[in-house]
Assembly symmetry: C2
């Protein structure tokens, strides 16, 4: 495969404690989309109330200077993707989101627009999970059953958004996030998992990946100890796995 | 359907903070299994290291007075279920557990043994999820993809084990447990969800269900406000839904 034209901004979380929707990543969004993009195609499928969700996203992104079309307002969503200049998939429930992407036959078209045509893709939370190889490392409840856990495969690894460090004072006995990711890596044929703390995001430009934001990230690779990475870290090596799958 | 002969002990969590494995529910296990049962068939599929898991369960349950056979030590697991006097499915990853139950063709046989033959079934955490209508309300990561989210259907509702009340002081923006269950109920054809706090368990004898343990439970019914229930609460009404599905 040639160098993909992909341009991705994968955000851990849309709202940071104490801030408003997309408040903590406005600058990154602006610098990512630049001035060429005029309109963003918003994908609200991860939430139940898509009208309200589109309204929130529209208000915020218009403030940053972009027009917003919400895919749920189109009679032909595949055609909407085909004509889009940029895509933003919002957070919510990852299973619901992925099922909708399959049910509406959007997987291949989004892949094509991003990997071949090079339009920018932004995701936050569930929308970042959806961009990766699979949703195996989502934090969400499986409230619906998608036809597969394989996702858009825009990058050949997994993300765990809202990554939470183990709380040493907790008396709760449910598995920590770290333990859950270790369980994933007990299975064979599993991919690296980038734990993006709230406030972190990953910028991907072709074959270069850089950690942005302020909170850092923790990387889990099967068979190795987890490693800690600071803002600015170069994660391009995670893109080197040429095994980009085709769902 | 006639009154099912089912006898179930569905435990939120196998280990309570500060205690040992099954420490907080030894008395309930003893009183549930009684003196007629001599040997328990343990199902360790939710954890990766099944030998170690079986060893832990064997030590604990032998202390309480029962012999333990672990299903993973049999060449024919269906036959092991067919001959069992009691079944205990331990916790771990619910997706991994359910996939194993399907892959090994155990769903129908366990249903038959419990609902028709009346052998006692104990589950903890993932093993409690597996006993219900579906695993839609597990807390676990989808590390593998089972052929369905439908579970054993021994009761016509869902359980959320390790139920956690919202932490009003948290700055983490990931969904609370309550919010996740609300998201499940935004979907159509969804079932009541019993949030069993750590330290709680549900005893089902035929068509009678009683909350045991010390921490209480929270019940979520689609379209209604959640309700709080104390130890000793009668949950028999949850069994009245005759819509027991056949996976």
């Amino acid at each position: 495969m040639d160098v993909p034209r992909r341009r991705l901004l994968l955000i851990s979380n849309s709202t940071l404690h104490g801030g408003g929707y997309l408040g903590h990543c406005q600058q990154q969004i602006k610098s990512f989309l630049g001035e060429k993009v005029k309109r963003i195609l918003f994908v609200p499928y991860a939430l139940h109330n898509q009208d309200a969700y589109a309204k929130t996203a529209r208000e915020k992104l218009e403030n940053v200077g972009y027009g917003v079309d919400s895919i749920h307002e189109f009679s032909d969503p595949v055609e909407a993707v085909r004509k889009s200049e940029a895509i933003f998939i919002g957070g919510g429930n990852t299973f619901r989101l992925l099922k909708a992407l399959y049910d509406k036959s959007l997987i291949q078209e989004i892949r094509k627009r991003v990997l071949e045509d090079g339009i920018p893709y932004m995701g936050s939370s569930a929308g970042s999970n959806a961009a990766t190889i699979s949703i195996n490392t989502t934090n969400d409840m499986p409230i619906v059953y998608p036809p597969s856990l394989e996702a858009l495969g825009l990058v050949p690894f997994n993300i765990n958004p809202h990554y939470l460090d183990p709380d040493v004072n907790s008396t709760h006995m449910g598995e920590t996030r770290e333990k859950r990711i270790f369980e994933y890596h007990e299975e064979s044929n599993t991919f690296p998992v980038l734990g993006l703390r709230e406030g972190s995001m990953l910028l991907v430009e072709g074959n270069k990946a850089t950690l942005q934001g302020v909170t850092g990230a923790r990387l889990f690779v099967r068979g190795k100890s987890p490693t800690e990475h600071q803002p600015g870290a170069d994660f391009s090596f995670l893109l080197a796995n040429s095994n980009l799958h085709n769902p």
